[in-house]
Subunit: 247 residues, 2 copies
Amino acid sequence: MKSACAQQVQSLSSGKELLPEPCAACAARVLSVCDAIDDCDLDRLAAITSVQDIARHQIFVTEGDPADHLFNVTDGTVKVYKLLPDGRQQITGFLFAGDFLGLSFLERYGCSAEAVTRVRCCRFPRKQFAAMLTDFPGIERRLLGIASNELAAAQDHMVLLGRKTARERVSTFLLMLSRRAARSGGTADPVILPMTRTDIADYLGLTVETVSRTFTQLKKDGFIELREAGVVHLSNLPALEDLNEGF
Amino acid sequence: MKSACAQQVQSLSSGKELLPEPCAACAARVLSVCDAIDDCDLDRLAAITSVQDIARHQIFVTEGDPADHLFNVTDGTVKVYKLLPDGRQQITGFLFAGDFLGLSFLERYGCSAEAVTRVRCCRFPRKQFAAMLTDFPGIERRLLGIASNELAAAQDHMVLLGRKTARERVSTFLLMLSRRAARSGGTADPVILPMTRTDIADYLGLTVETVSRTFTQLKKDGFIELREAGVVHLSNLPALEDLNEGF
DNA sequence: CGCACACTTGAGTAATGTCAAAGAGTGTGG
DNA sequence: CCACACTCTTTGACATTACTCAAGTGTGCG
């Protein structure tokens, strides 16, 4: 089976060399669900995939709409959020390259999603994706793993929202971004913030003003430096980690 | 295959009539993972199950410990929580009959769990449970569904913790318990609160005092009545629902 | 009966939110 | 290339919600 698979790959790549499979060439693949599919079966995945380019500020998933598609972010930053009827917003998470969106297998989307930067992603029709699950149980296993991680992240975030001070929230946020960037091959120290202060506030359960004040306070206390816009230098990372003792 | 299965059940039940299978007789089964296993295969599940009786206040899962077991609550109330190093506590959820604990397939428990009342549950060794997943793909599908629901609940709770007022948090909490009770065959109106005010506070991201004050305020405003301890009468349910417009 | 423990209530405080305005940065069109 | 308009960010003054500390009142259990 494995060798037959290898053969198939060979013939496939020699036949379609000039039209590279989007999935086989995808840099984000190792980070995401698609890694659960062997090279030889990637064409089946590619067949139901449509690559999407999403402009900044575009809302491409709306809470309550029928959950027709699943997404896999391959580039850019997405904010996932819920709204209260009066407009109060809570961002439940930010997605980066490799992150999966639409995990819930409910009928309708539970959250909205908006492109914070220009975003590139792969879109799968939910029905066809679900059909693949029966043929590739590895995907299901992988989805369960992703769900586990998301759940763990959600729990951490509940602690932040329910019990941490503004200062702790902001420093936790910075460390999270730093670690996340390092994990996916980026740089840990100058942390890039693609989102606005308002987005950060809506993620941390604060107001813009409080977030801004906390940044300046952290700067004054020598934890961070704010040189260019959208970039935070962690001048004293160990001290910053102490603020978050154990997270 | 189906008919062979039915036979097996028959011979099994006739042979062991005096020792009822814990799983086949389980009232909570329809609510939980175990429902994904056909009657005929329940003996395999029963073989790895040990029924546990847990005393009030006993901590039976500790954050960071190796995740050796999974649990299925069949009776009582469990609080699932995380601690900050200085003792601040955030309860991430309450579990009732039919709820599953230990969903995360990470190496270690992400949260601690404590029995709020006397609790009865089924315990499965994680390794043996994982082995069953390959034979019964239905369980995996079911777990994914459970994970989806938990994730949706976690997202709702993030909105509560990040953006709602004390009054909204408490009324959301009461409605949640009411609906939950109704869904699992209980009574919707007099809501039973098995947990202390402190637990409610730790769940809602408030202090005991604020929770208590909010209860008296809701009472004074005619939304609820507090007659016996641990029981809340929802005197004006529609108005209470208005407080939570759309949740 | 008495001791915990849980709950309520009060008074004062601190942290964060609100409202307002000014400064900085960014992009667009003239 | 500059000027204008826009948004984002920062800062200040003030308001308010929820927290802290403290005391008092049940309530259940040994």
